[in-house]
Amino acid sequence: MSIANGAASPSTTLVEVRNLKVHFPIRRGLLRRQVGAVRAVDDVSFDVYQGETLGLVGESGCGKSTTGLAMLKLQAATAGSVLFRGQEVTTLPEGQMRQLRRHMMMVFQDPYSSLNPRMTVGSIIGEPLSVHQIGEPSQRPARVKELLRMVGLNPAFINRYPHEFSGGQRQRVGLARALATSPAFIVADEPISALDVSIQAQVVNLMGDLKAELGLTYLMISHDLSMVRYISDRVAVMYLGKIVELGSRDAVFDHPMHPYTRALMSAVPVANPKLERQRKRIILEGDVPSPARPPAGCRFNPRCVFAKDICRQQEPELRVLEISDGVEHRVACHLAEELAV
């Protein structure tokens, strides 16, 4: 059983992201006047369906983590809206937001810096319970032990400190903390990338089991495409603050339509020497441009071998090209139809 369980039906939308923008101002000079903005997330729209795992992939600086943070209002949005079960998150006052937060939690990348070294794992996992006043204080230790058991840790470890655990175990503690309030939606930002290969599979399998057991919905942010293919029902690919392709896992991985997605896929090495030697890689020229000065038109055009005049002039929309596996396959490329042939 994997984390992906074919639950990607648009029947119920849990989170709706519309025209989300997160811009960070660039200030210069004595008066700290704003001279520009880093457009980390620039007009992004997508839905997260109830019970699915949506993989959000892209290279560093593409805005995938900022998107995740803005969805939980851990980062203020510049514009746009995020609806969680129909409720607007971006403008919600902090008091009400706190009540909503117990339903939407985050798992962080680095299990070393995201756990307070001076707190026992018992108090780390129990903190969300007391913050949200869930259950009687006397019952909380029992709940913490139950959570430890759920993530595969010995409940007797309740009084230990984070430094007594390995990286994989700490990530389990991070998961237990996120699950303490029985959330519906979890944003996991690179949850396995700091772990060793043999430990990664343990954590991924655990996340899959928990999802099935608790009916969770995941937004899985990752740069590891093989792992995203394994765990996601649907996949969104980001480049320079924009979603360039969005569709079912198999549609995006088996026939990617955006030239960037194709290059990204071809750059991922596979553990098969004969195949690797024969593979023809699409090697992208140059680096990702600065999100403070994104190119005009399609943001990928300076690195795209297919770029035409229209790509340099007009920004492509993320439009539906086909329905695959029951969900829309969207691509933001003027030439998608031509290139598909």
Partner: protein, 334 residues
């Protein structure tokens, strides 16, 4: 035929907080001219410490190379004086490190940094060094090389900085290049650029390469042979195709199963390796992988299995290598 590099029974230990860390426990391997070798392992496997020991980069305290020989072109590097070793480093053997952000000096221009080894090792004058530095930068695919010599590291992107590091490593036409996770800090599309560059340079310059990585997929297409390390031991060594097609150690098999493949519709549960990496503070008295091995037998808990031949140029440190290979490769039941 003598080998370019012959490592024999190399032992490196670290001493800290009253504990002894058994980082490298008697590893041996050879590398020929122009050959490429990958050393693969997880953190703490000893893959980096192993090559740092070869390069004389282990400082005491806390670490010390305590045994073995490192014959490079017939000379034992472990017996060289610090000055002699310095001449070898950056001369005949050079190294590229993981993090291109911190391995360059931020207050010197890249030109100055590139010219330094040219003048120190090759004794070039300033003008000749500058010309050669520009040549090296264009060799690694940096546009406008001559003009960019005066730029500082922060003016380059991560991928470009790693190209500069590679240019620096190539300054003295080394016969051996050691690359320690050179692409780990980079994005996949930039990683692909760097891998192509190194492969191309290797063909052109016929440099032998040791490529250190935690990523079995990454090295698959780029080396001749692979060493897998675990807990400071070499547990398997094989020509690249053999290792991926007929692995002969349960740890290698486990690693290969634990990585999902991009080209497969993988719906099954990932085969994870249960348990945790070993505690290096204790000297091994049994197979270090035994506590995590699904195929463990009594013998595994009694003695450290030696690395032994299981095929042409293929060695494994597992008592049950032959039978496990049958299960793994032909799906036979035990």
């Amino acid at each position: 035929m003598t080998h370019l590099l012959e490592v024999k029974d190399l032992v490196t230990r670290f001493y800290s907080d009253g504990a002894t860390i058994h980082a490298v426990n008697g590893i041996s391997y050879t590398l020929d001219e122009g050959e490429s070798l990958a050393i693969v392992g997880e953190s703490g496997s000893g893959k980096s410490v192993g090559v740092m020991s070869i390069m004389g980069l282990i400082r005491f305290p806390p670490g010390r190379v305590e045994g073995g020989e490192v014959l490079f072109k017939g000379r034992d590097l472990l017996k060289l004086s610090p000055d002699e070793m310095r001449a070898v480093r950056g001369g005949e053997i050079s190294m590229v490190f993981q993090d291109p952000m911190t391995s360059l000096n931020p207050v010197l221009s890249v030109g100055q940094q590139l010219m330094e080894p040219l003048r120190a090792h090759l004794g070039l004058d300033k003008a000749a060094a500058r010309a050669r530095a520009a040549e090296l930068l264009s060799l690694v695919g940096l546009p406008n090389a001559a003009e960019r010599l005066k730029d500082y590291p922060f003016q380059f992107s991560g991928g470009q900085r790693q190209r500069i590091m590679i240019a620096m490593a190539l300054t003295c036409n080394p016969s051996l290049l050691i690359a320690d996770e050179p692409t780990t800090a980079l994005d996949v599309t930039i990683q692909a650029q760097i891998v192509e560059l190194v492969k191309e340079l290797q063909e052109r310059l016929n440099t032998a390469i040791i490529w250190i990585s935690h990523n079995l997929a990454l090295v698959a297409g780029m080396v001749d042979k692979v060493i897998v390390m675990y807990s400071g031991y070499i547990i398997e060594q094989a020509p690249v195709d053999d290792l991926y097609e007929q692995p002969a150690h349960p740890y290698t098999m486990g690693l290969l199963h634990a990585i999902p493949s991009l080209d497969q519709r993988n719906q099954e549960r990932l085969a994870s390796i249960e348990g945790m990496p070993p505690d290096l503070r204790k000297a091994a008295t049994a197979c270090p992988f035994a506590p995590r091995c699904p195929y463990v037998i009594d013998r595994c808990l009694q003695e450290v299995p030696p690395l032994r031949a299981v095929g042409p140029n293929h060695t494994s440190a597992c008592w049950r290598a032959e039978e496990l290979r049958k299960i793994h490769n032909f799906g036979e039941e035990l």
